[in-house]
């Protein structure tokens, strides 16, 4: 019996494609944001609000990730820009390879902003770098304020945490201060905003945050790999 070294990272195949995506985005001046959350937290509703506002100033393309079906794509088609559906089949997350070809289409289409709606899942998407510039995640009031400490990886990965459905605060035991404190424990310094996609509260702040990130990408095109040191 003898022992040999391997030292192979098991996410290396995904990370290699994510690095290619990152270079493509930098080269073509495309800003990409990966939107993640549990199922039903309001990703599509948020995008219905945000996309028309971003589209006033930029050519925006959307990558819609779902296990099956195109119901969300049909909702987002109304904003008028290109929307590409990716059906993962059985896979619980988007990976770098799935979005690679679509990112090429978006650059050829002249898009300046790519919005990627990941599969609704609070676990798996956190592990798979897509090569995006920023990760935005939603936590909705109906999920409970204890989630940041139950799904730390996702909250570590986020550049912006959005607490959504705040119009329901009065009807639930959700504590906004407790949720913010839990997010700050898991990821000190992360940006936190609160929204209601029903009333429109907080949507302008989300758009302003994205506009600042788009502008800073123009100043410094190559993003650091997502989640590094997290």
């Amino acid at each position: 019996m003898h022992e040999i070294d391997v030292k192979a990272g098991l996410l290396a195949p995904n990370d290699a494609v994510a690095a290619e995506n990152r270079h493509l985005l930098a080269e073509r001046g495309l800003y990409a944001v990966n939107v993640m959350s549990a199922p039903g937290s309001g990703k599509t509703s948020l995008l219905e609000r945000v996309l028309p506002m971003l589209a006033e100033r930029h050519r925006v393309g959307v990558i819609e990730g779902d296990i099956v079906g195109s119901a969300d794509k049909e909702r987002l088609d109304r904003f008028g820009g290109p929307v590409f559906q990716i059906n993962t089949g059985a896979a619980c997350h988007l990976d770098a390879r799935m979005v690679h070809h679509v990112l090429h289409h978006l650059t050829e289409d002249g898009c300046e902003v790519a919005v990627i709606e990941n599969v609704g899942n609070l676990v798996c998407p956190a592990e798979f770098d897509l090569g995006e510039d920023d990760a935005v995640m939603l936590l909705s009031v109906t999920e409970g304020h204890d989630k940041p400490k139950k799904y730390p990886l996702m909250f570590r990965r986020a550049d912006l945490v959005i607490i959504n459905k705040v119009d329901l605060l009065a009807h639930t035991d959700f504590s906004l201060p407790a949720a913010v404190a839990a997010v700050r424990d898991v990821h000190p310094g992360v940006a936190i905003l609160s929204t209601s996609c029903r009333t429109g509260e907080g949507i302008e702040e989300v758009v302003a945050w994205l506009e600042r990130r788009i502008a800073s990408k123009r100043a410094a095109p190559l993003a650091a790999p997502a989640g590094q040191g997290r």
């Binding site: 040999i4 070294d5 192979a8 896979a91 997350h93 798979f128 730390p152 310094g189 997290r230």
Partner: protein
């Protein structure tokens, strides 16, 4: 939930390493898994057992080396463990930290048996 994909990636990495070593059979695969790697070792073990069955790695055992979650502080330069998922420096309390260990997910080493040894043991 994505342990099957990770098991496939593990099988591929080990098989690549073995290309240059004909006549060796893998007995044990040592895998480093960080506390915050987002992987269930039980699920990975089960996925590996199923997916390796039709390959040359059938029967190999996975041994997990669990790596604790620690932070390196940019303010005081010290390393400290993460307790109760509070990501602040355990020494000075600073928020300016980065994960020093606990995100690992990699094959480290293989324990190999020569096919001749296997035959000998059978006799």
């Amino acid at each position: 939930m994505h342990e099957a994909g990770i098991a496939l990636s593990l099988i591929e990495a080990v098989q690549q390493r073995l290309v240059s070593m004909p006549g060796s059979r893998v007995a044990v695969i040592h895998v480093r898994v960080g506390e915050l790697a987002g992987v269930s070792t039980d699920a990975l073990d089960f996925a590996f057992e199923c997916l390796s069955a039709p390959t040359a790695l059938a029967g190999a055992k996975l041994v997990f080396d669990l790596v604790p979650l620690t932070l390196l502080c940019d303010a005081c330069g010290k390393t400290s463990p993460v307790e109760d998922l509070v990501f602040r420096c355990g020494v000075c309390g600073s928020e300016r930290t980065r994960v020093a260990s606990g995100r690992e997910l990699e094959v480290r080493t293989l324990e190999l048996v020569e096919e001749s040894e296997v035959a000998y043991a059978r006799d």
